[in-house]
Amino acid sequence: MNKGPVWYIISFLVIVLLQLLLMNNIQFSGFINPYFYILFIILLPINIPRYILLILGFLLGITIDIFSNTPGIHASATVFMAFIRPFIINSYNLDDQEKMMIPSISNIGVKWFIKYLVIMIIAHHFFLFFIEVFSFSGFLHTLLRCILSSIFTFVFILISQFLIFRK
């Protein structure tokens, strides 16, 4: 089930382009901006070494940053998400065979995947929105933006799952 590095490079580019061309143009009254690009971190193999995970997170975040004029904001949020990923995965008891796989619905099961996805999205979005505002004043407003965007990100990632891993 593991794919080669070429597959990951291509999916990196595709996901970044989708984020910049499509997702960044979804704007409802300045509140909602889905951050679909975290899909790349979510779909990395379960047994990937932690340092590679962190470095990939940083690269992904800084790429998005360069194109959206926000140096460091996406990078810090994505690194944070990459950091907590092994802790979330370890909290589920997986056997050795499952650890070789990509965390996807068909491999791990719907319930497991949705739990994992929700925690990852919320961790990333909370970190992102609060570091963007850089203060806790207007807490509820930021929280609302964060929750609305999270919902949209969740929906888009779930749809993408059914498109990519269709049998």
Binding site: Q27, S29, R50, L54, F67, N69, P71, G72, I73, V79
Partner: protein, 274 residues
């Protein structure tokens, strides 16, 4: 020594995590201080090229809408031209004087956002076209922003929808002025402060640039008053201004080149030093 190495190996992921976060946060903080990280913004060559390509596709779909906008603007300009012709010679020379000082460079918006806390615009004109830092950007509907970064062929501008700056604005009717700032919530509303209570403000009053800074000439439309409130701690009115520029629908803008700016700045510097 061995213990130290063991420690490093055991906790390498935590150390790497902290390191990467420190790097990211350094970027953020330096950027907050306006010392923008060079190359890490969308006016650099590669990002600029990508956005230009994307834009040529986007353009195709908005052609009709843009044509209509241009036609309306044409009519307005023609009307203005007629009034100038009818008015007397005195006004005409004044006009000519102003127009020789201020030049407009048309540019196209190749990247734009309204949903962030700090919004920026990328334009397809750069150093080669005579664009420099601190030039004002306007469009047919009103004020847009100010240039902050310039590369050979591209430039980025702070838009009005950016908490990091404020415009010096005045009420057209009473000539009272104050800073106009975006609150980071609604992309159509900004707030004008420091207008004393005795000034009578009405809804629909026009708010324009004051001309006290060298970025914008006097009298460029910013928006209209929609609500008048009081600020929490100070003795000033808080005036809600609806922006005349629709930032979510911005395609063509003009950059203001003011040839008198250098002279003006030198003079102001001289005065400050005394």
């Amino acid at each position: 020594m061995k213990n130290l190495l063991n420690f490093l190996i055991k906790y390498h992921h935590i150390i790497l995590f902290i390191l990467l976060e420190v790097v990211s946060i350094t970027f953020i903080v330096r950027y907050n201080n306006f010392q923008r990280v060079k190359f890490l913004n969308s006016s650099n060559a590669m990002a600029g090229k990508v956005y230009t390509e994307i834009n040529s596709v986007k353009d195709f779909f908005v052609l009709k809408q843009q044509n209509e906008k241009l036609a309306i603007e044409n009519t307005n300009l023609r009307k203005e031209l007629l009034t100038i012709k009818q008015s007397n010679l005195n006004v005409l020379t004044q006009h000519q004087l102003d127009s020789s000082r201020v030049k407009l460079v048309p540019a196209k918006v190749i990247n734009n956002s309204v949903n962030k806390q700090y919004n920026y615009i990328t334009l397809n004109k750069g150093y080669r076209d005579g664009i420099r830092q601190d030039m004002g950007v306007i469009c047919s509907e009103g004020v847009v922003g100010v240039i902050v970064n310039v590369s050979q062929n591209y430039s980025t501008a702070l838009s009005v929808l950016n908490g990091r700056w404020s415009i010096n604005a005045k009420l057209l009717n009473s000539n009272y002025f104050g800073p106009l700032r975006w609150e980071g919530k609604n992309p159509y509303i900004t707030i004008l402060n420091e207008i004393p209570y005795h000034v009578k403000v009405q809804e629909e009053d026009e708010v324009v640039t004051s001309g006290y800074s060298d970025i914008f000439p006097e009298g460029i439309l910013i928006g209209r008053v929609v609500k008048i409130g009081s600020s929490k701690s100070e003795n000033f009115q808080e005036i809600w201004v609806q922006l005349s520029t629709d930032f979510s629908n911005l395609y063509y803008v003009d950059i203001i080149q003011n040839s008198m700016n250098v002279e003006r700045r030198q003079l102001e510097k001289l005065t400050e030093n005394e």
